[in-house]
């Protein structure tokens, strides 16, 4: 089936796993009529009704805690965190319990919970509704961190998550959802009708190149691909790596590419400091320092909240032009 954007393919994965596994329930705010606002649960209410799809009150702390308890008692909750920005309202239950109970209990209580959340800006929703924040989850031991960029990956990664006995957080970028009320920067592609898994910890080469490697995830993969086309016109051949999962992280693929091109730019829509860019750069230099022709470069949100006004927002979220400029600069430095 042809699917445009990640929202429908995520909903499709949940639907098929719910048919296979009656331990899966869907909870969160507005997961019925509104499909969790960004479409990740669309169609599930029509198919399964309020017996398995539950609109909660606005109580993130409590429904995250209930997910912990329900998973302990044998269910596999799919929990919608409508915008990742709302994590604060329920984070204690997530990071001190959901992410740790398996470890703290000496392996007695697996925690099969799948959290699906919407990330990203670029449409004027300001500081409390535009963040990415996957770096926070990746920093805390116990979460698997999944960032799909295509409909095919989204379905396979979510299916994998729904078969995983661990807390997996799926970060769906709003501009990749394919919903009519938002700009769309993703892809439409053929997605198999039957269920399939995409493995965690396997990055994918979206484009092969020799001069330069750009590493990113989610929306930034698509912007990097467009920058790579512009670079091609300047005669710079760019390799694009889509990490797909930050935890586990595919070190092998990124190190291999860094060794091949000797120039690495890491592009991220999360905040710069103490984030994904720093982590990936560290892993590369630890294994490929001698192969690097120039220091690793990075582009991310420059440690300021996402401002509202359009010219301000455009200044802080990496766009195609800035990715292109950074990459060119990096190439010309050596």
């Amino acid at each position: 089936m042809k699917i445009r954007g990640i929202a429908q393919s995520i909903a499709e994965a949940i639907k098929q796993e719910m048919e296979r596994n009656d331990r899966i329930v869907v909870v969160g705010e507005d997961v019925t009529y509104w499909g969790a606002v960004f479409g990740f649960t669309m169609g599930l209410f029509e198919k399964f009704g309020r017996k398995r799809v539950f609109d909660t009150p606005i109580t993130e702390q409590t429904f995250m805690g209930m997910a912990v308890g329900a998973a302990t008692a044998g269910l596999h909750p799919v929990v919608s965190l409508m915008f990742v920005d709302f994590l604060g309202a329920g984070f204690d239950q997530m990071y001190n319990h959901m992410a740790k109970n398996y470890y703290m209990s000496g392996g007695q209580f697996p925690m099969p919970v799948t959290i699906i959340t919407a990330i990203g800006g670029g449409y004027g929703d300001s500081s409390q509704h535009s963040q990415v924040l996957y770096g926070l989850f990746a920093h805390l031991p116990g979460f698997k961190v999944v960032v799909p960029s295509t409909p095919y990956d989204a379905k396979g990664l979510v299916t994998k998550a729904l078969r995983d006995p661990n807390p997996v957080v799926v970060f769906g970028h709003k501009l990749l959802t394919g919903l009519p009320f938002l700009p769309f920067e993703g892809t439409e592609e053929e997605v198999p009708d039957e269920p399939y898994e995409v493995e965690f910890g396997k990055a994918v080469l979206r484009r092969e190149g020799n001069d330069l490697t750009i590493i990113s995830a989610g929306l930034m993969v698509h912007r990097s691909l467009r920058a790579a086309e512009m670079l091609q016109r300047d005669g710079i051949s760019t390799e694009i790596i889509d990490l797909r999962t930050l935890i586990p992280l595919d070190e092998e693929t990124i190190v291999k590419s860094a060794k091949k091109t000797g120039r690495v730019l890491i592009v991220d829509e999360d905040y710069m400091s103490y984030g994904m860019t720093g982590e990936v750069a560290f892993r590369i230099q630890a294994k490929a320092l001698k192969d690097l022709k120039v220091p690793i470069a990075r582009l991310a949100v420059p440690d300021v909240p996402i401002p509202f006004s359009e010219p301000l927002e455009n200044t802080v979220i990496p766009n195609v032009e800035r990715i292109y400029n950074e990459a060119r600069k990096l190439y010309q430095e050596s």
Partner: protein, 345 residues
């Protein structure tokens, strides 16, 4: 009409008098509610310009837009007699509260349009309006208003001031833990806090009947020893008379009050909402209770003003709104580098 019978003319003038209102006050309230209504209608119109097909990212106003059309009486009735130093903490649906608190309309409009002349120099936008002059703040995070207002109330009490703090929130927000936690601490510490719940029946698409264990939140307030009142949120006089008593009580140091106002939003949760979760009949029923028309009818029946005077007030309000919008449209955008400044004081 919602929870109390519509009073006879005689009873109405008695109610107005006994809550300390003069005829001129009713005209001022009418005028303020009109400003809110016209402002919201105009913002709505501009918001949809350049959004065909509908996309949140395009047009003059970007992002989400939560309007308060239908809920004007709650804001105006509650805030009619507060002082500039009294703190108001609002929500993702903040325009009516801001206008009722006296926030400058030009700078409010400019902020919503992302202009440098806006309240927050364009950094905040519609859900993040801050005005130091009028002690006004809000948040797009649901449930955030309760503890922040309680904190302001704590500061007033600590400093020996007779100011009050007012938290607005929806009936959805009041299911959040912060509501219960704030009721407890405000009651235990006798903080000068007023919690105003605007019950418009829905949190996004979720009807309160599916997610609330009680019918009303005031029932919960009572459990925390907080005097709690249910008022007709489509009746500015009813809101006002309860709010005045609550504010008076708080100023005198007797502690918090909860006011739950039954109201309705005539438009979707946000612009672009398909409203598949509610019926047309329900919207029509509530439209017949329009708080502005209701006040207008009362003013006429009581002979506080004639049609000509009311028409003049409508004209004034329209002009004030138009001037504010023109100011916002005329104003420049901030310098892009402003984005990188101002994280720390």
């Amino acid at each position: 009409m919602i929870i109390k019978p519509e009073p006879s003319l005689k009873d109405l003038s008695y109610l107005i008098e006994s809550s300390g209102l003069k005829p001129s006050d009713l005209l001022t309230m009418y005028r303020r509610m009109l400003t809110i209504r016209y402002f919201e209608e105009t913002i709505r119109k501009i918001y949809h310009e350049g959004k065909n097909p509908f996309s949140m990212a395009s047009g003059i106003i970007r992002g989400e837009m939560h309007l308060s059309i239908g809920q004007e009486a709650v804001a105006v009735g509650t805030l009619y007699q507060v002082r500039d130093e009294d703190v108001v903490v609002s929500t993702h649906r903040p325009h009516h509260h801001a206008i009722a608190k006296g926030v400058d309309l030009n700078r409010l409009a400019a902020e919503i349009l992302g202009k440098v002349t806006g309240l927050c120099r364009g950094k905040g936008g519609h859900m993040h309006l801050f005005d130091k002059v009028k002690s006004f703040a809000c948040s797009g995070i649901v449930g955030a208003s309760f503890p922040q207002a309680a904190g302001a109330a704590f500061a007033f009490k600590y400093s020996g001031k007779d100011n009050v703090a007012i938290a607005f929130a929806g009936e959805g927000a009041a299911n959040h833990g912060t509501f219960a936690e704030t009721l407890n601490i405000a009651s235990a510490w006798e903080l000068p806090l007023i919690l105003v719940i605007e019950d418009n029946k829905y949190a996004d698409s979720t009807p309160k009947s599916l997610v609330m264990s009680t019918t009303f939140h005031y029932q919960r307030g009572l459990a925390y020893n907080v005097p709690s009142y249910l008022v007709d949120g489509m009746d500015v006089i009813d809101v006002y008379s309860t709010a005045t008593k609550a504010i008076e009580r708080a100023r005198k140091g007797f502690g918090p009050t909860l006011i739950e106002a039954l109201t309705y939003r005539y438009v979707g949760h946000f612009e672009g909402d398909g409203e598949e979760y509610r019926t047309k009949e329900e919207v029509e029923m509530w439209s017949s209770l329009d708080p502005i028309r209701r006040l207008e009818n009362r003013i006429l029946r009581l002979n506080y003003a004639d049609n000509e005077i009311l028409a003049k007030l409508r004209e004034e309000a329209r002009k004030q709104v138009q001037d504010a919008i023109d100011f916002a449209l005329r104003s420049p955008y901030p310098d892009p580098n402003e984005a990188l400044r101002g994280v720390f004081a």
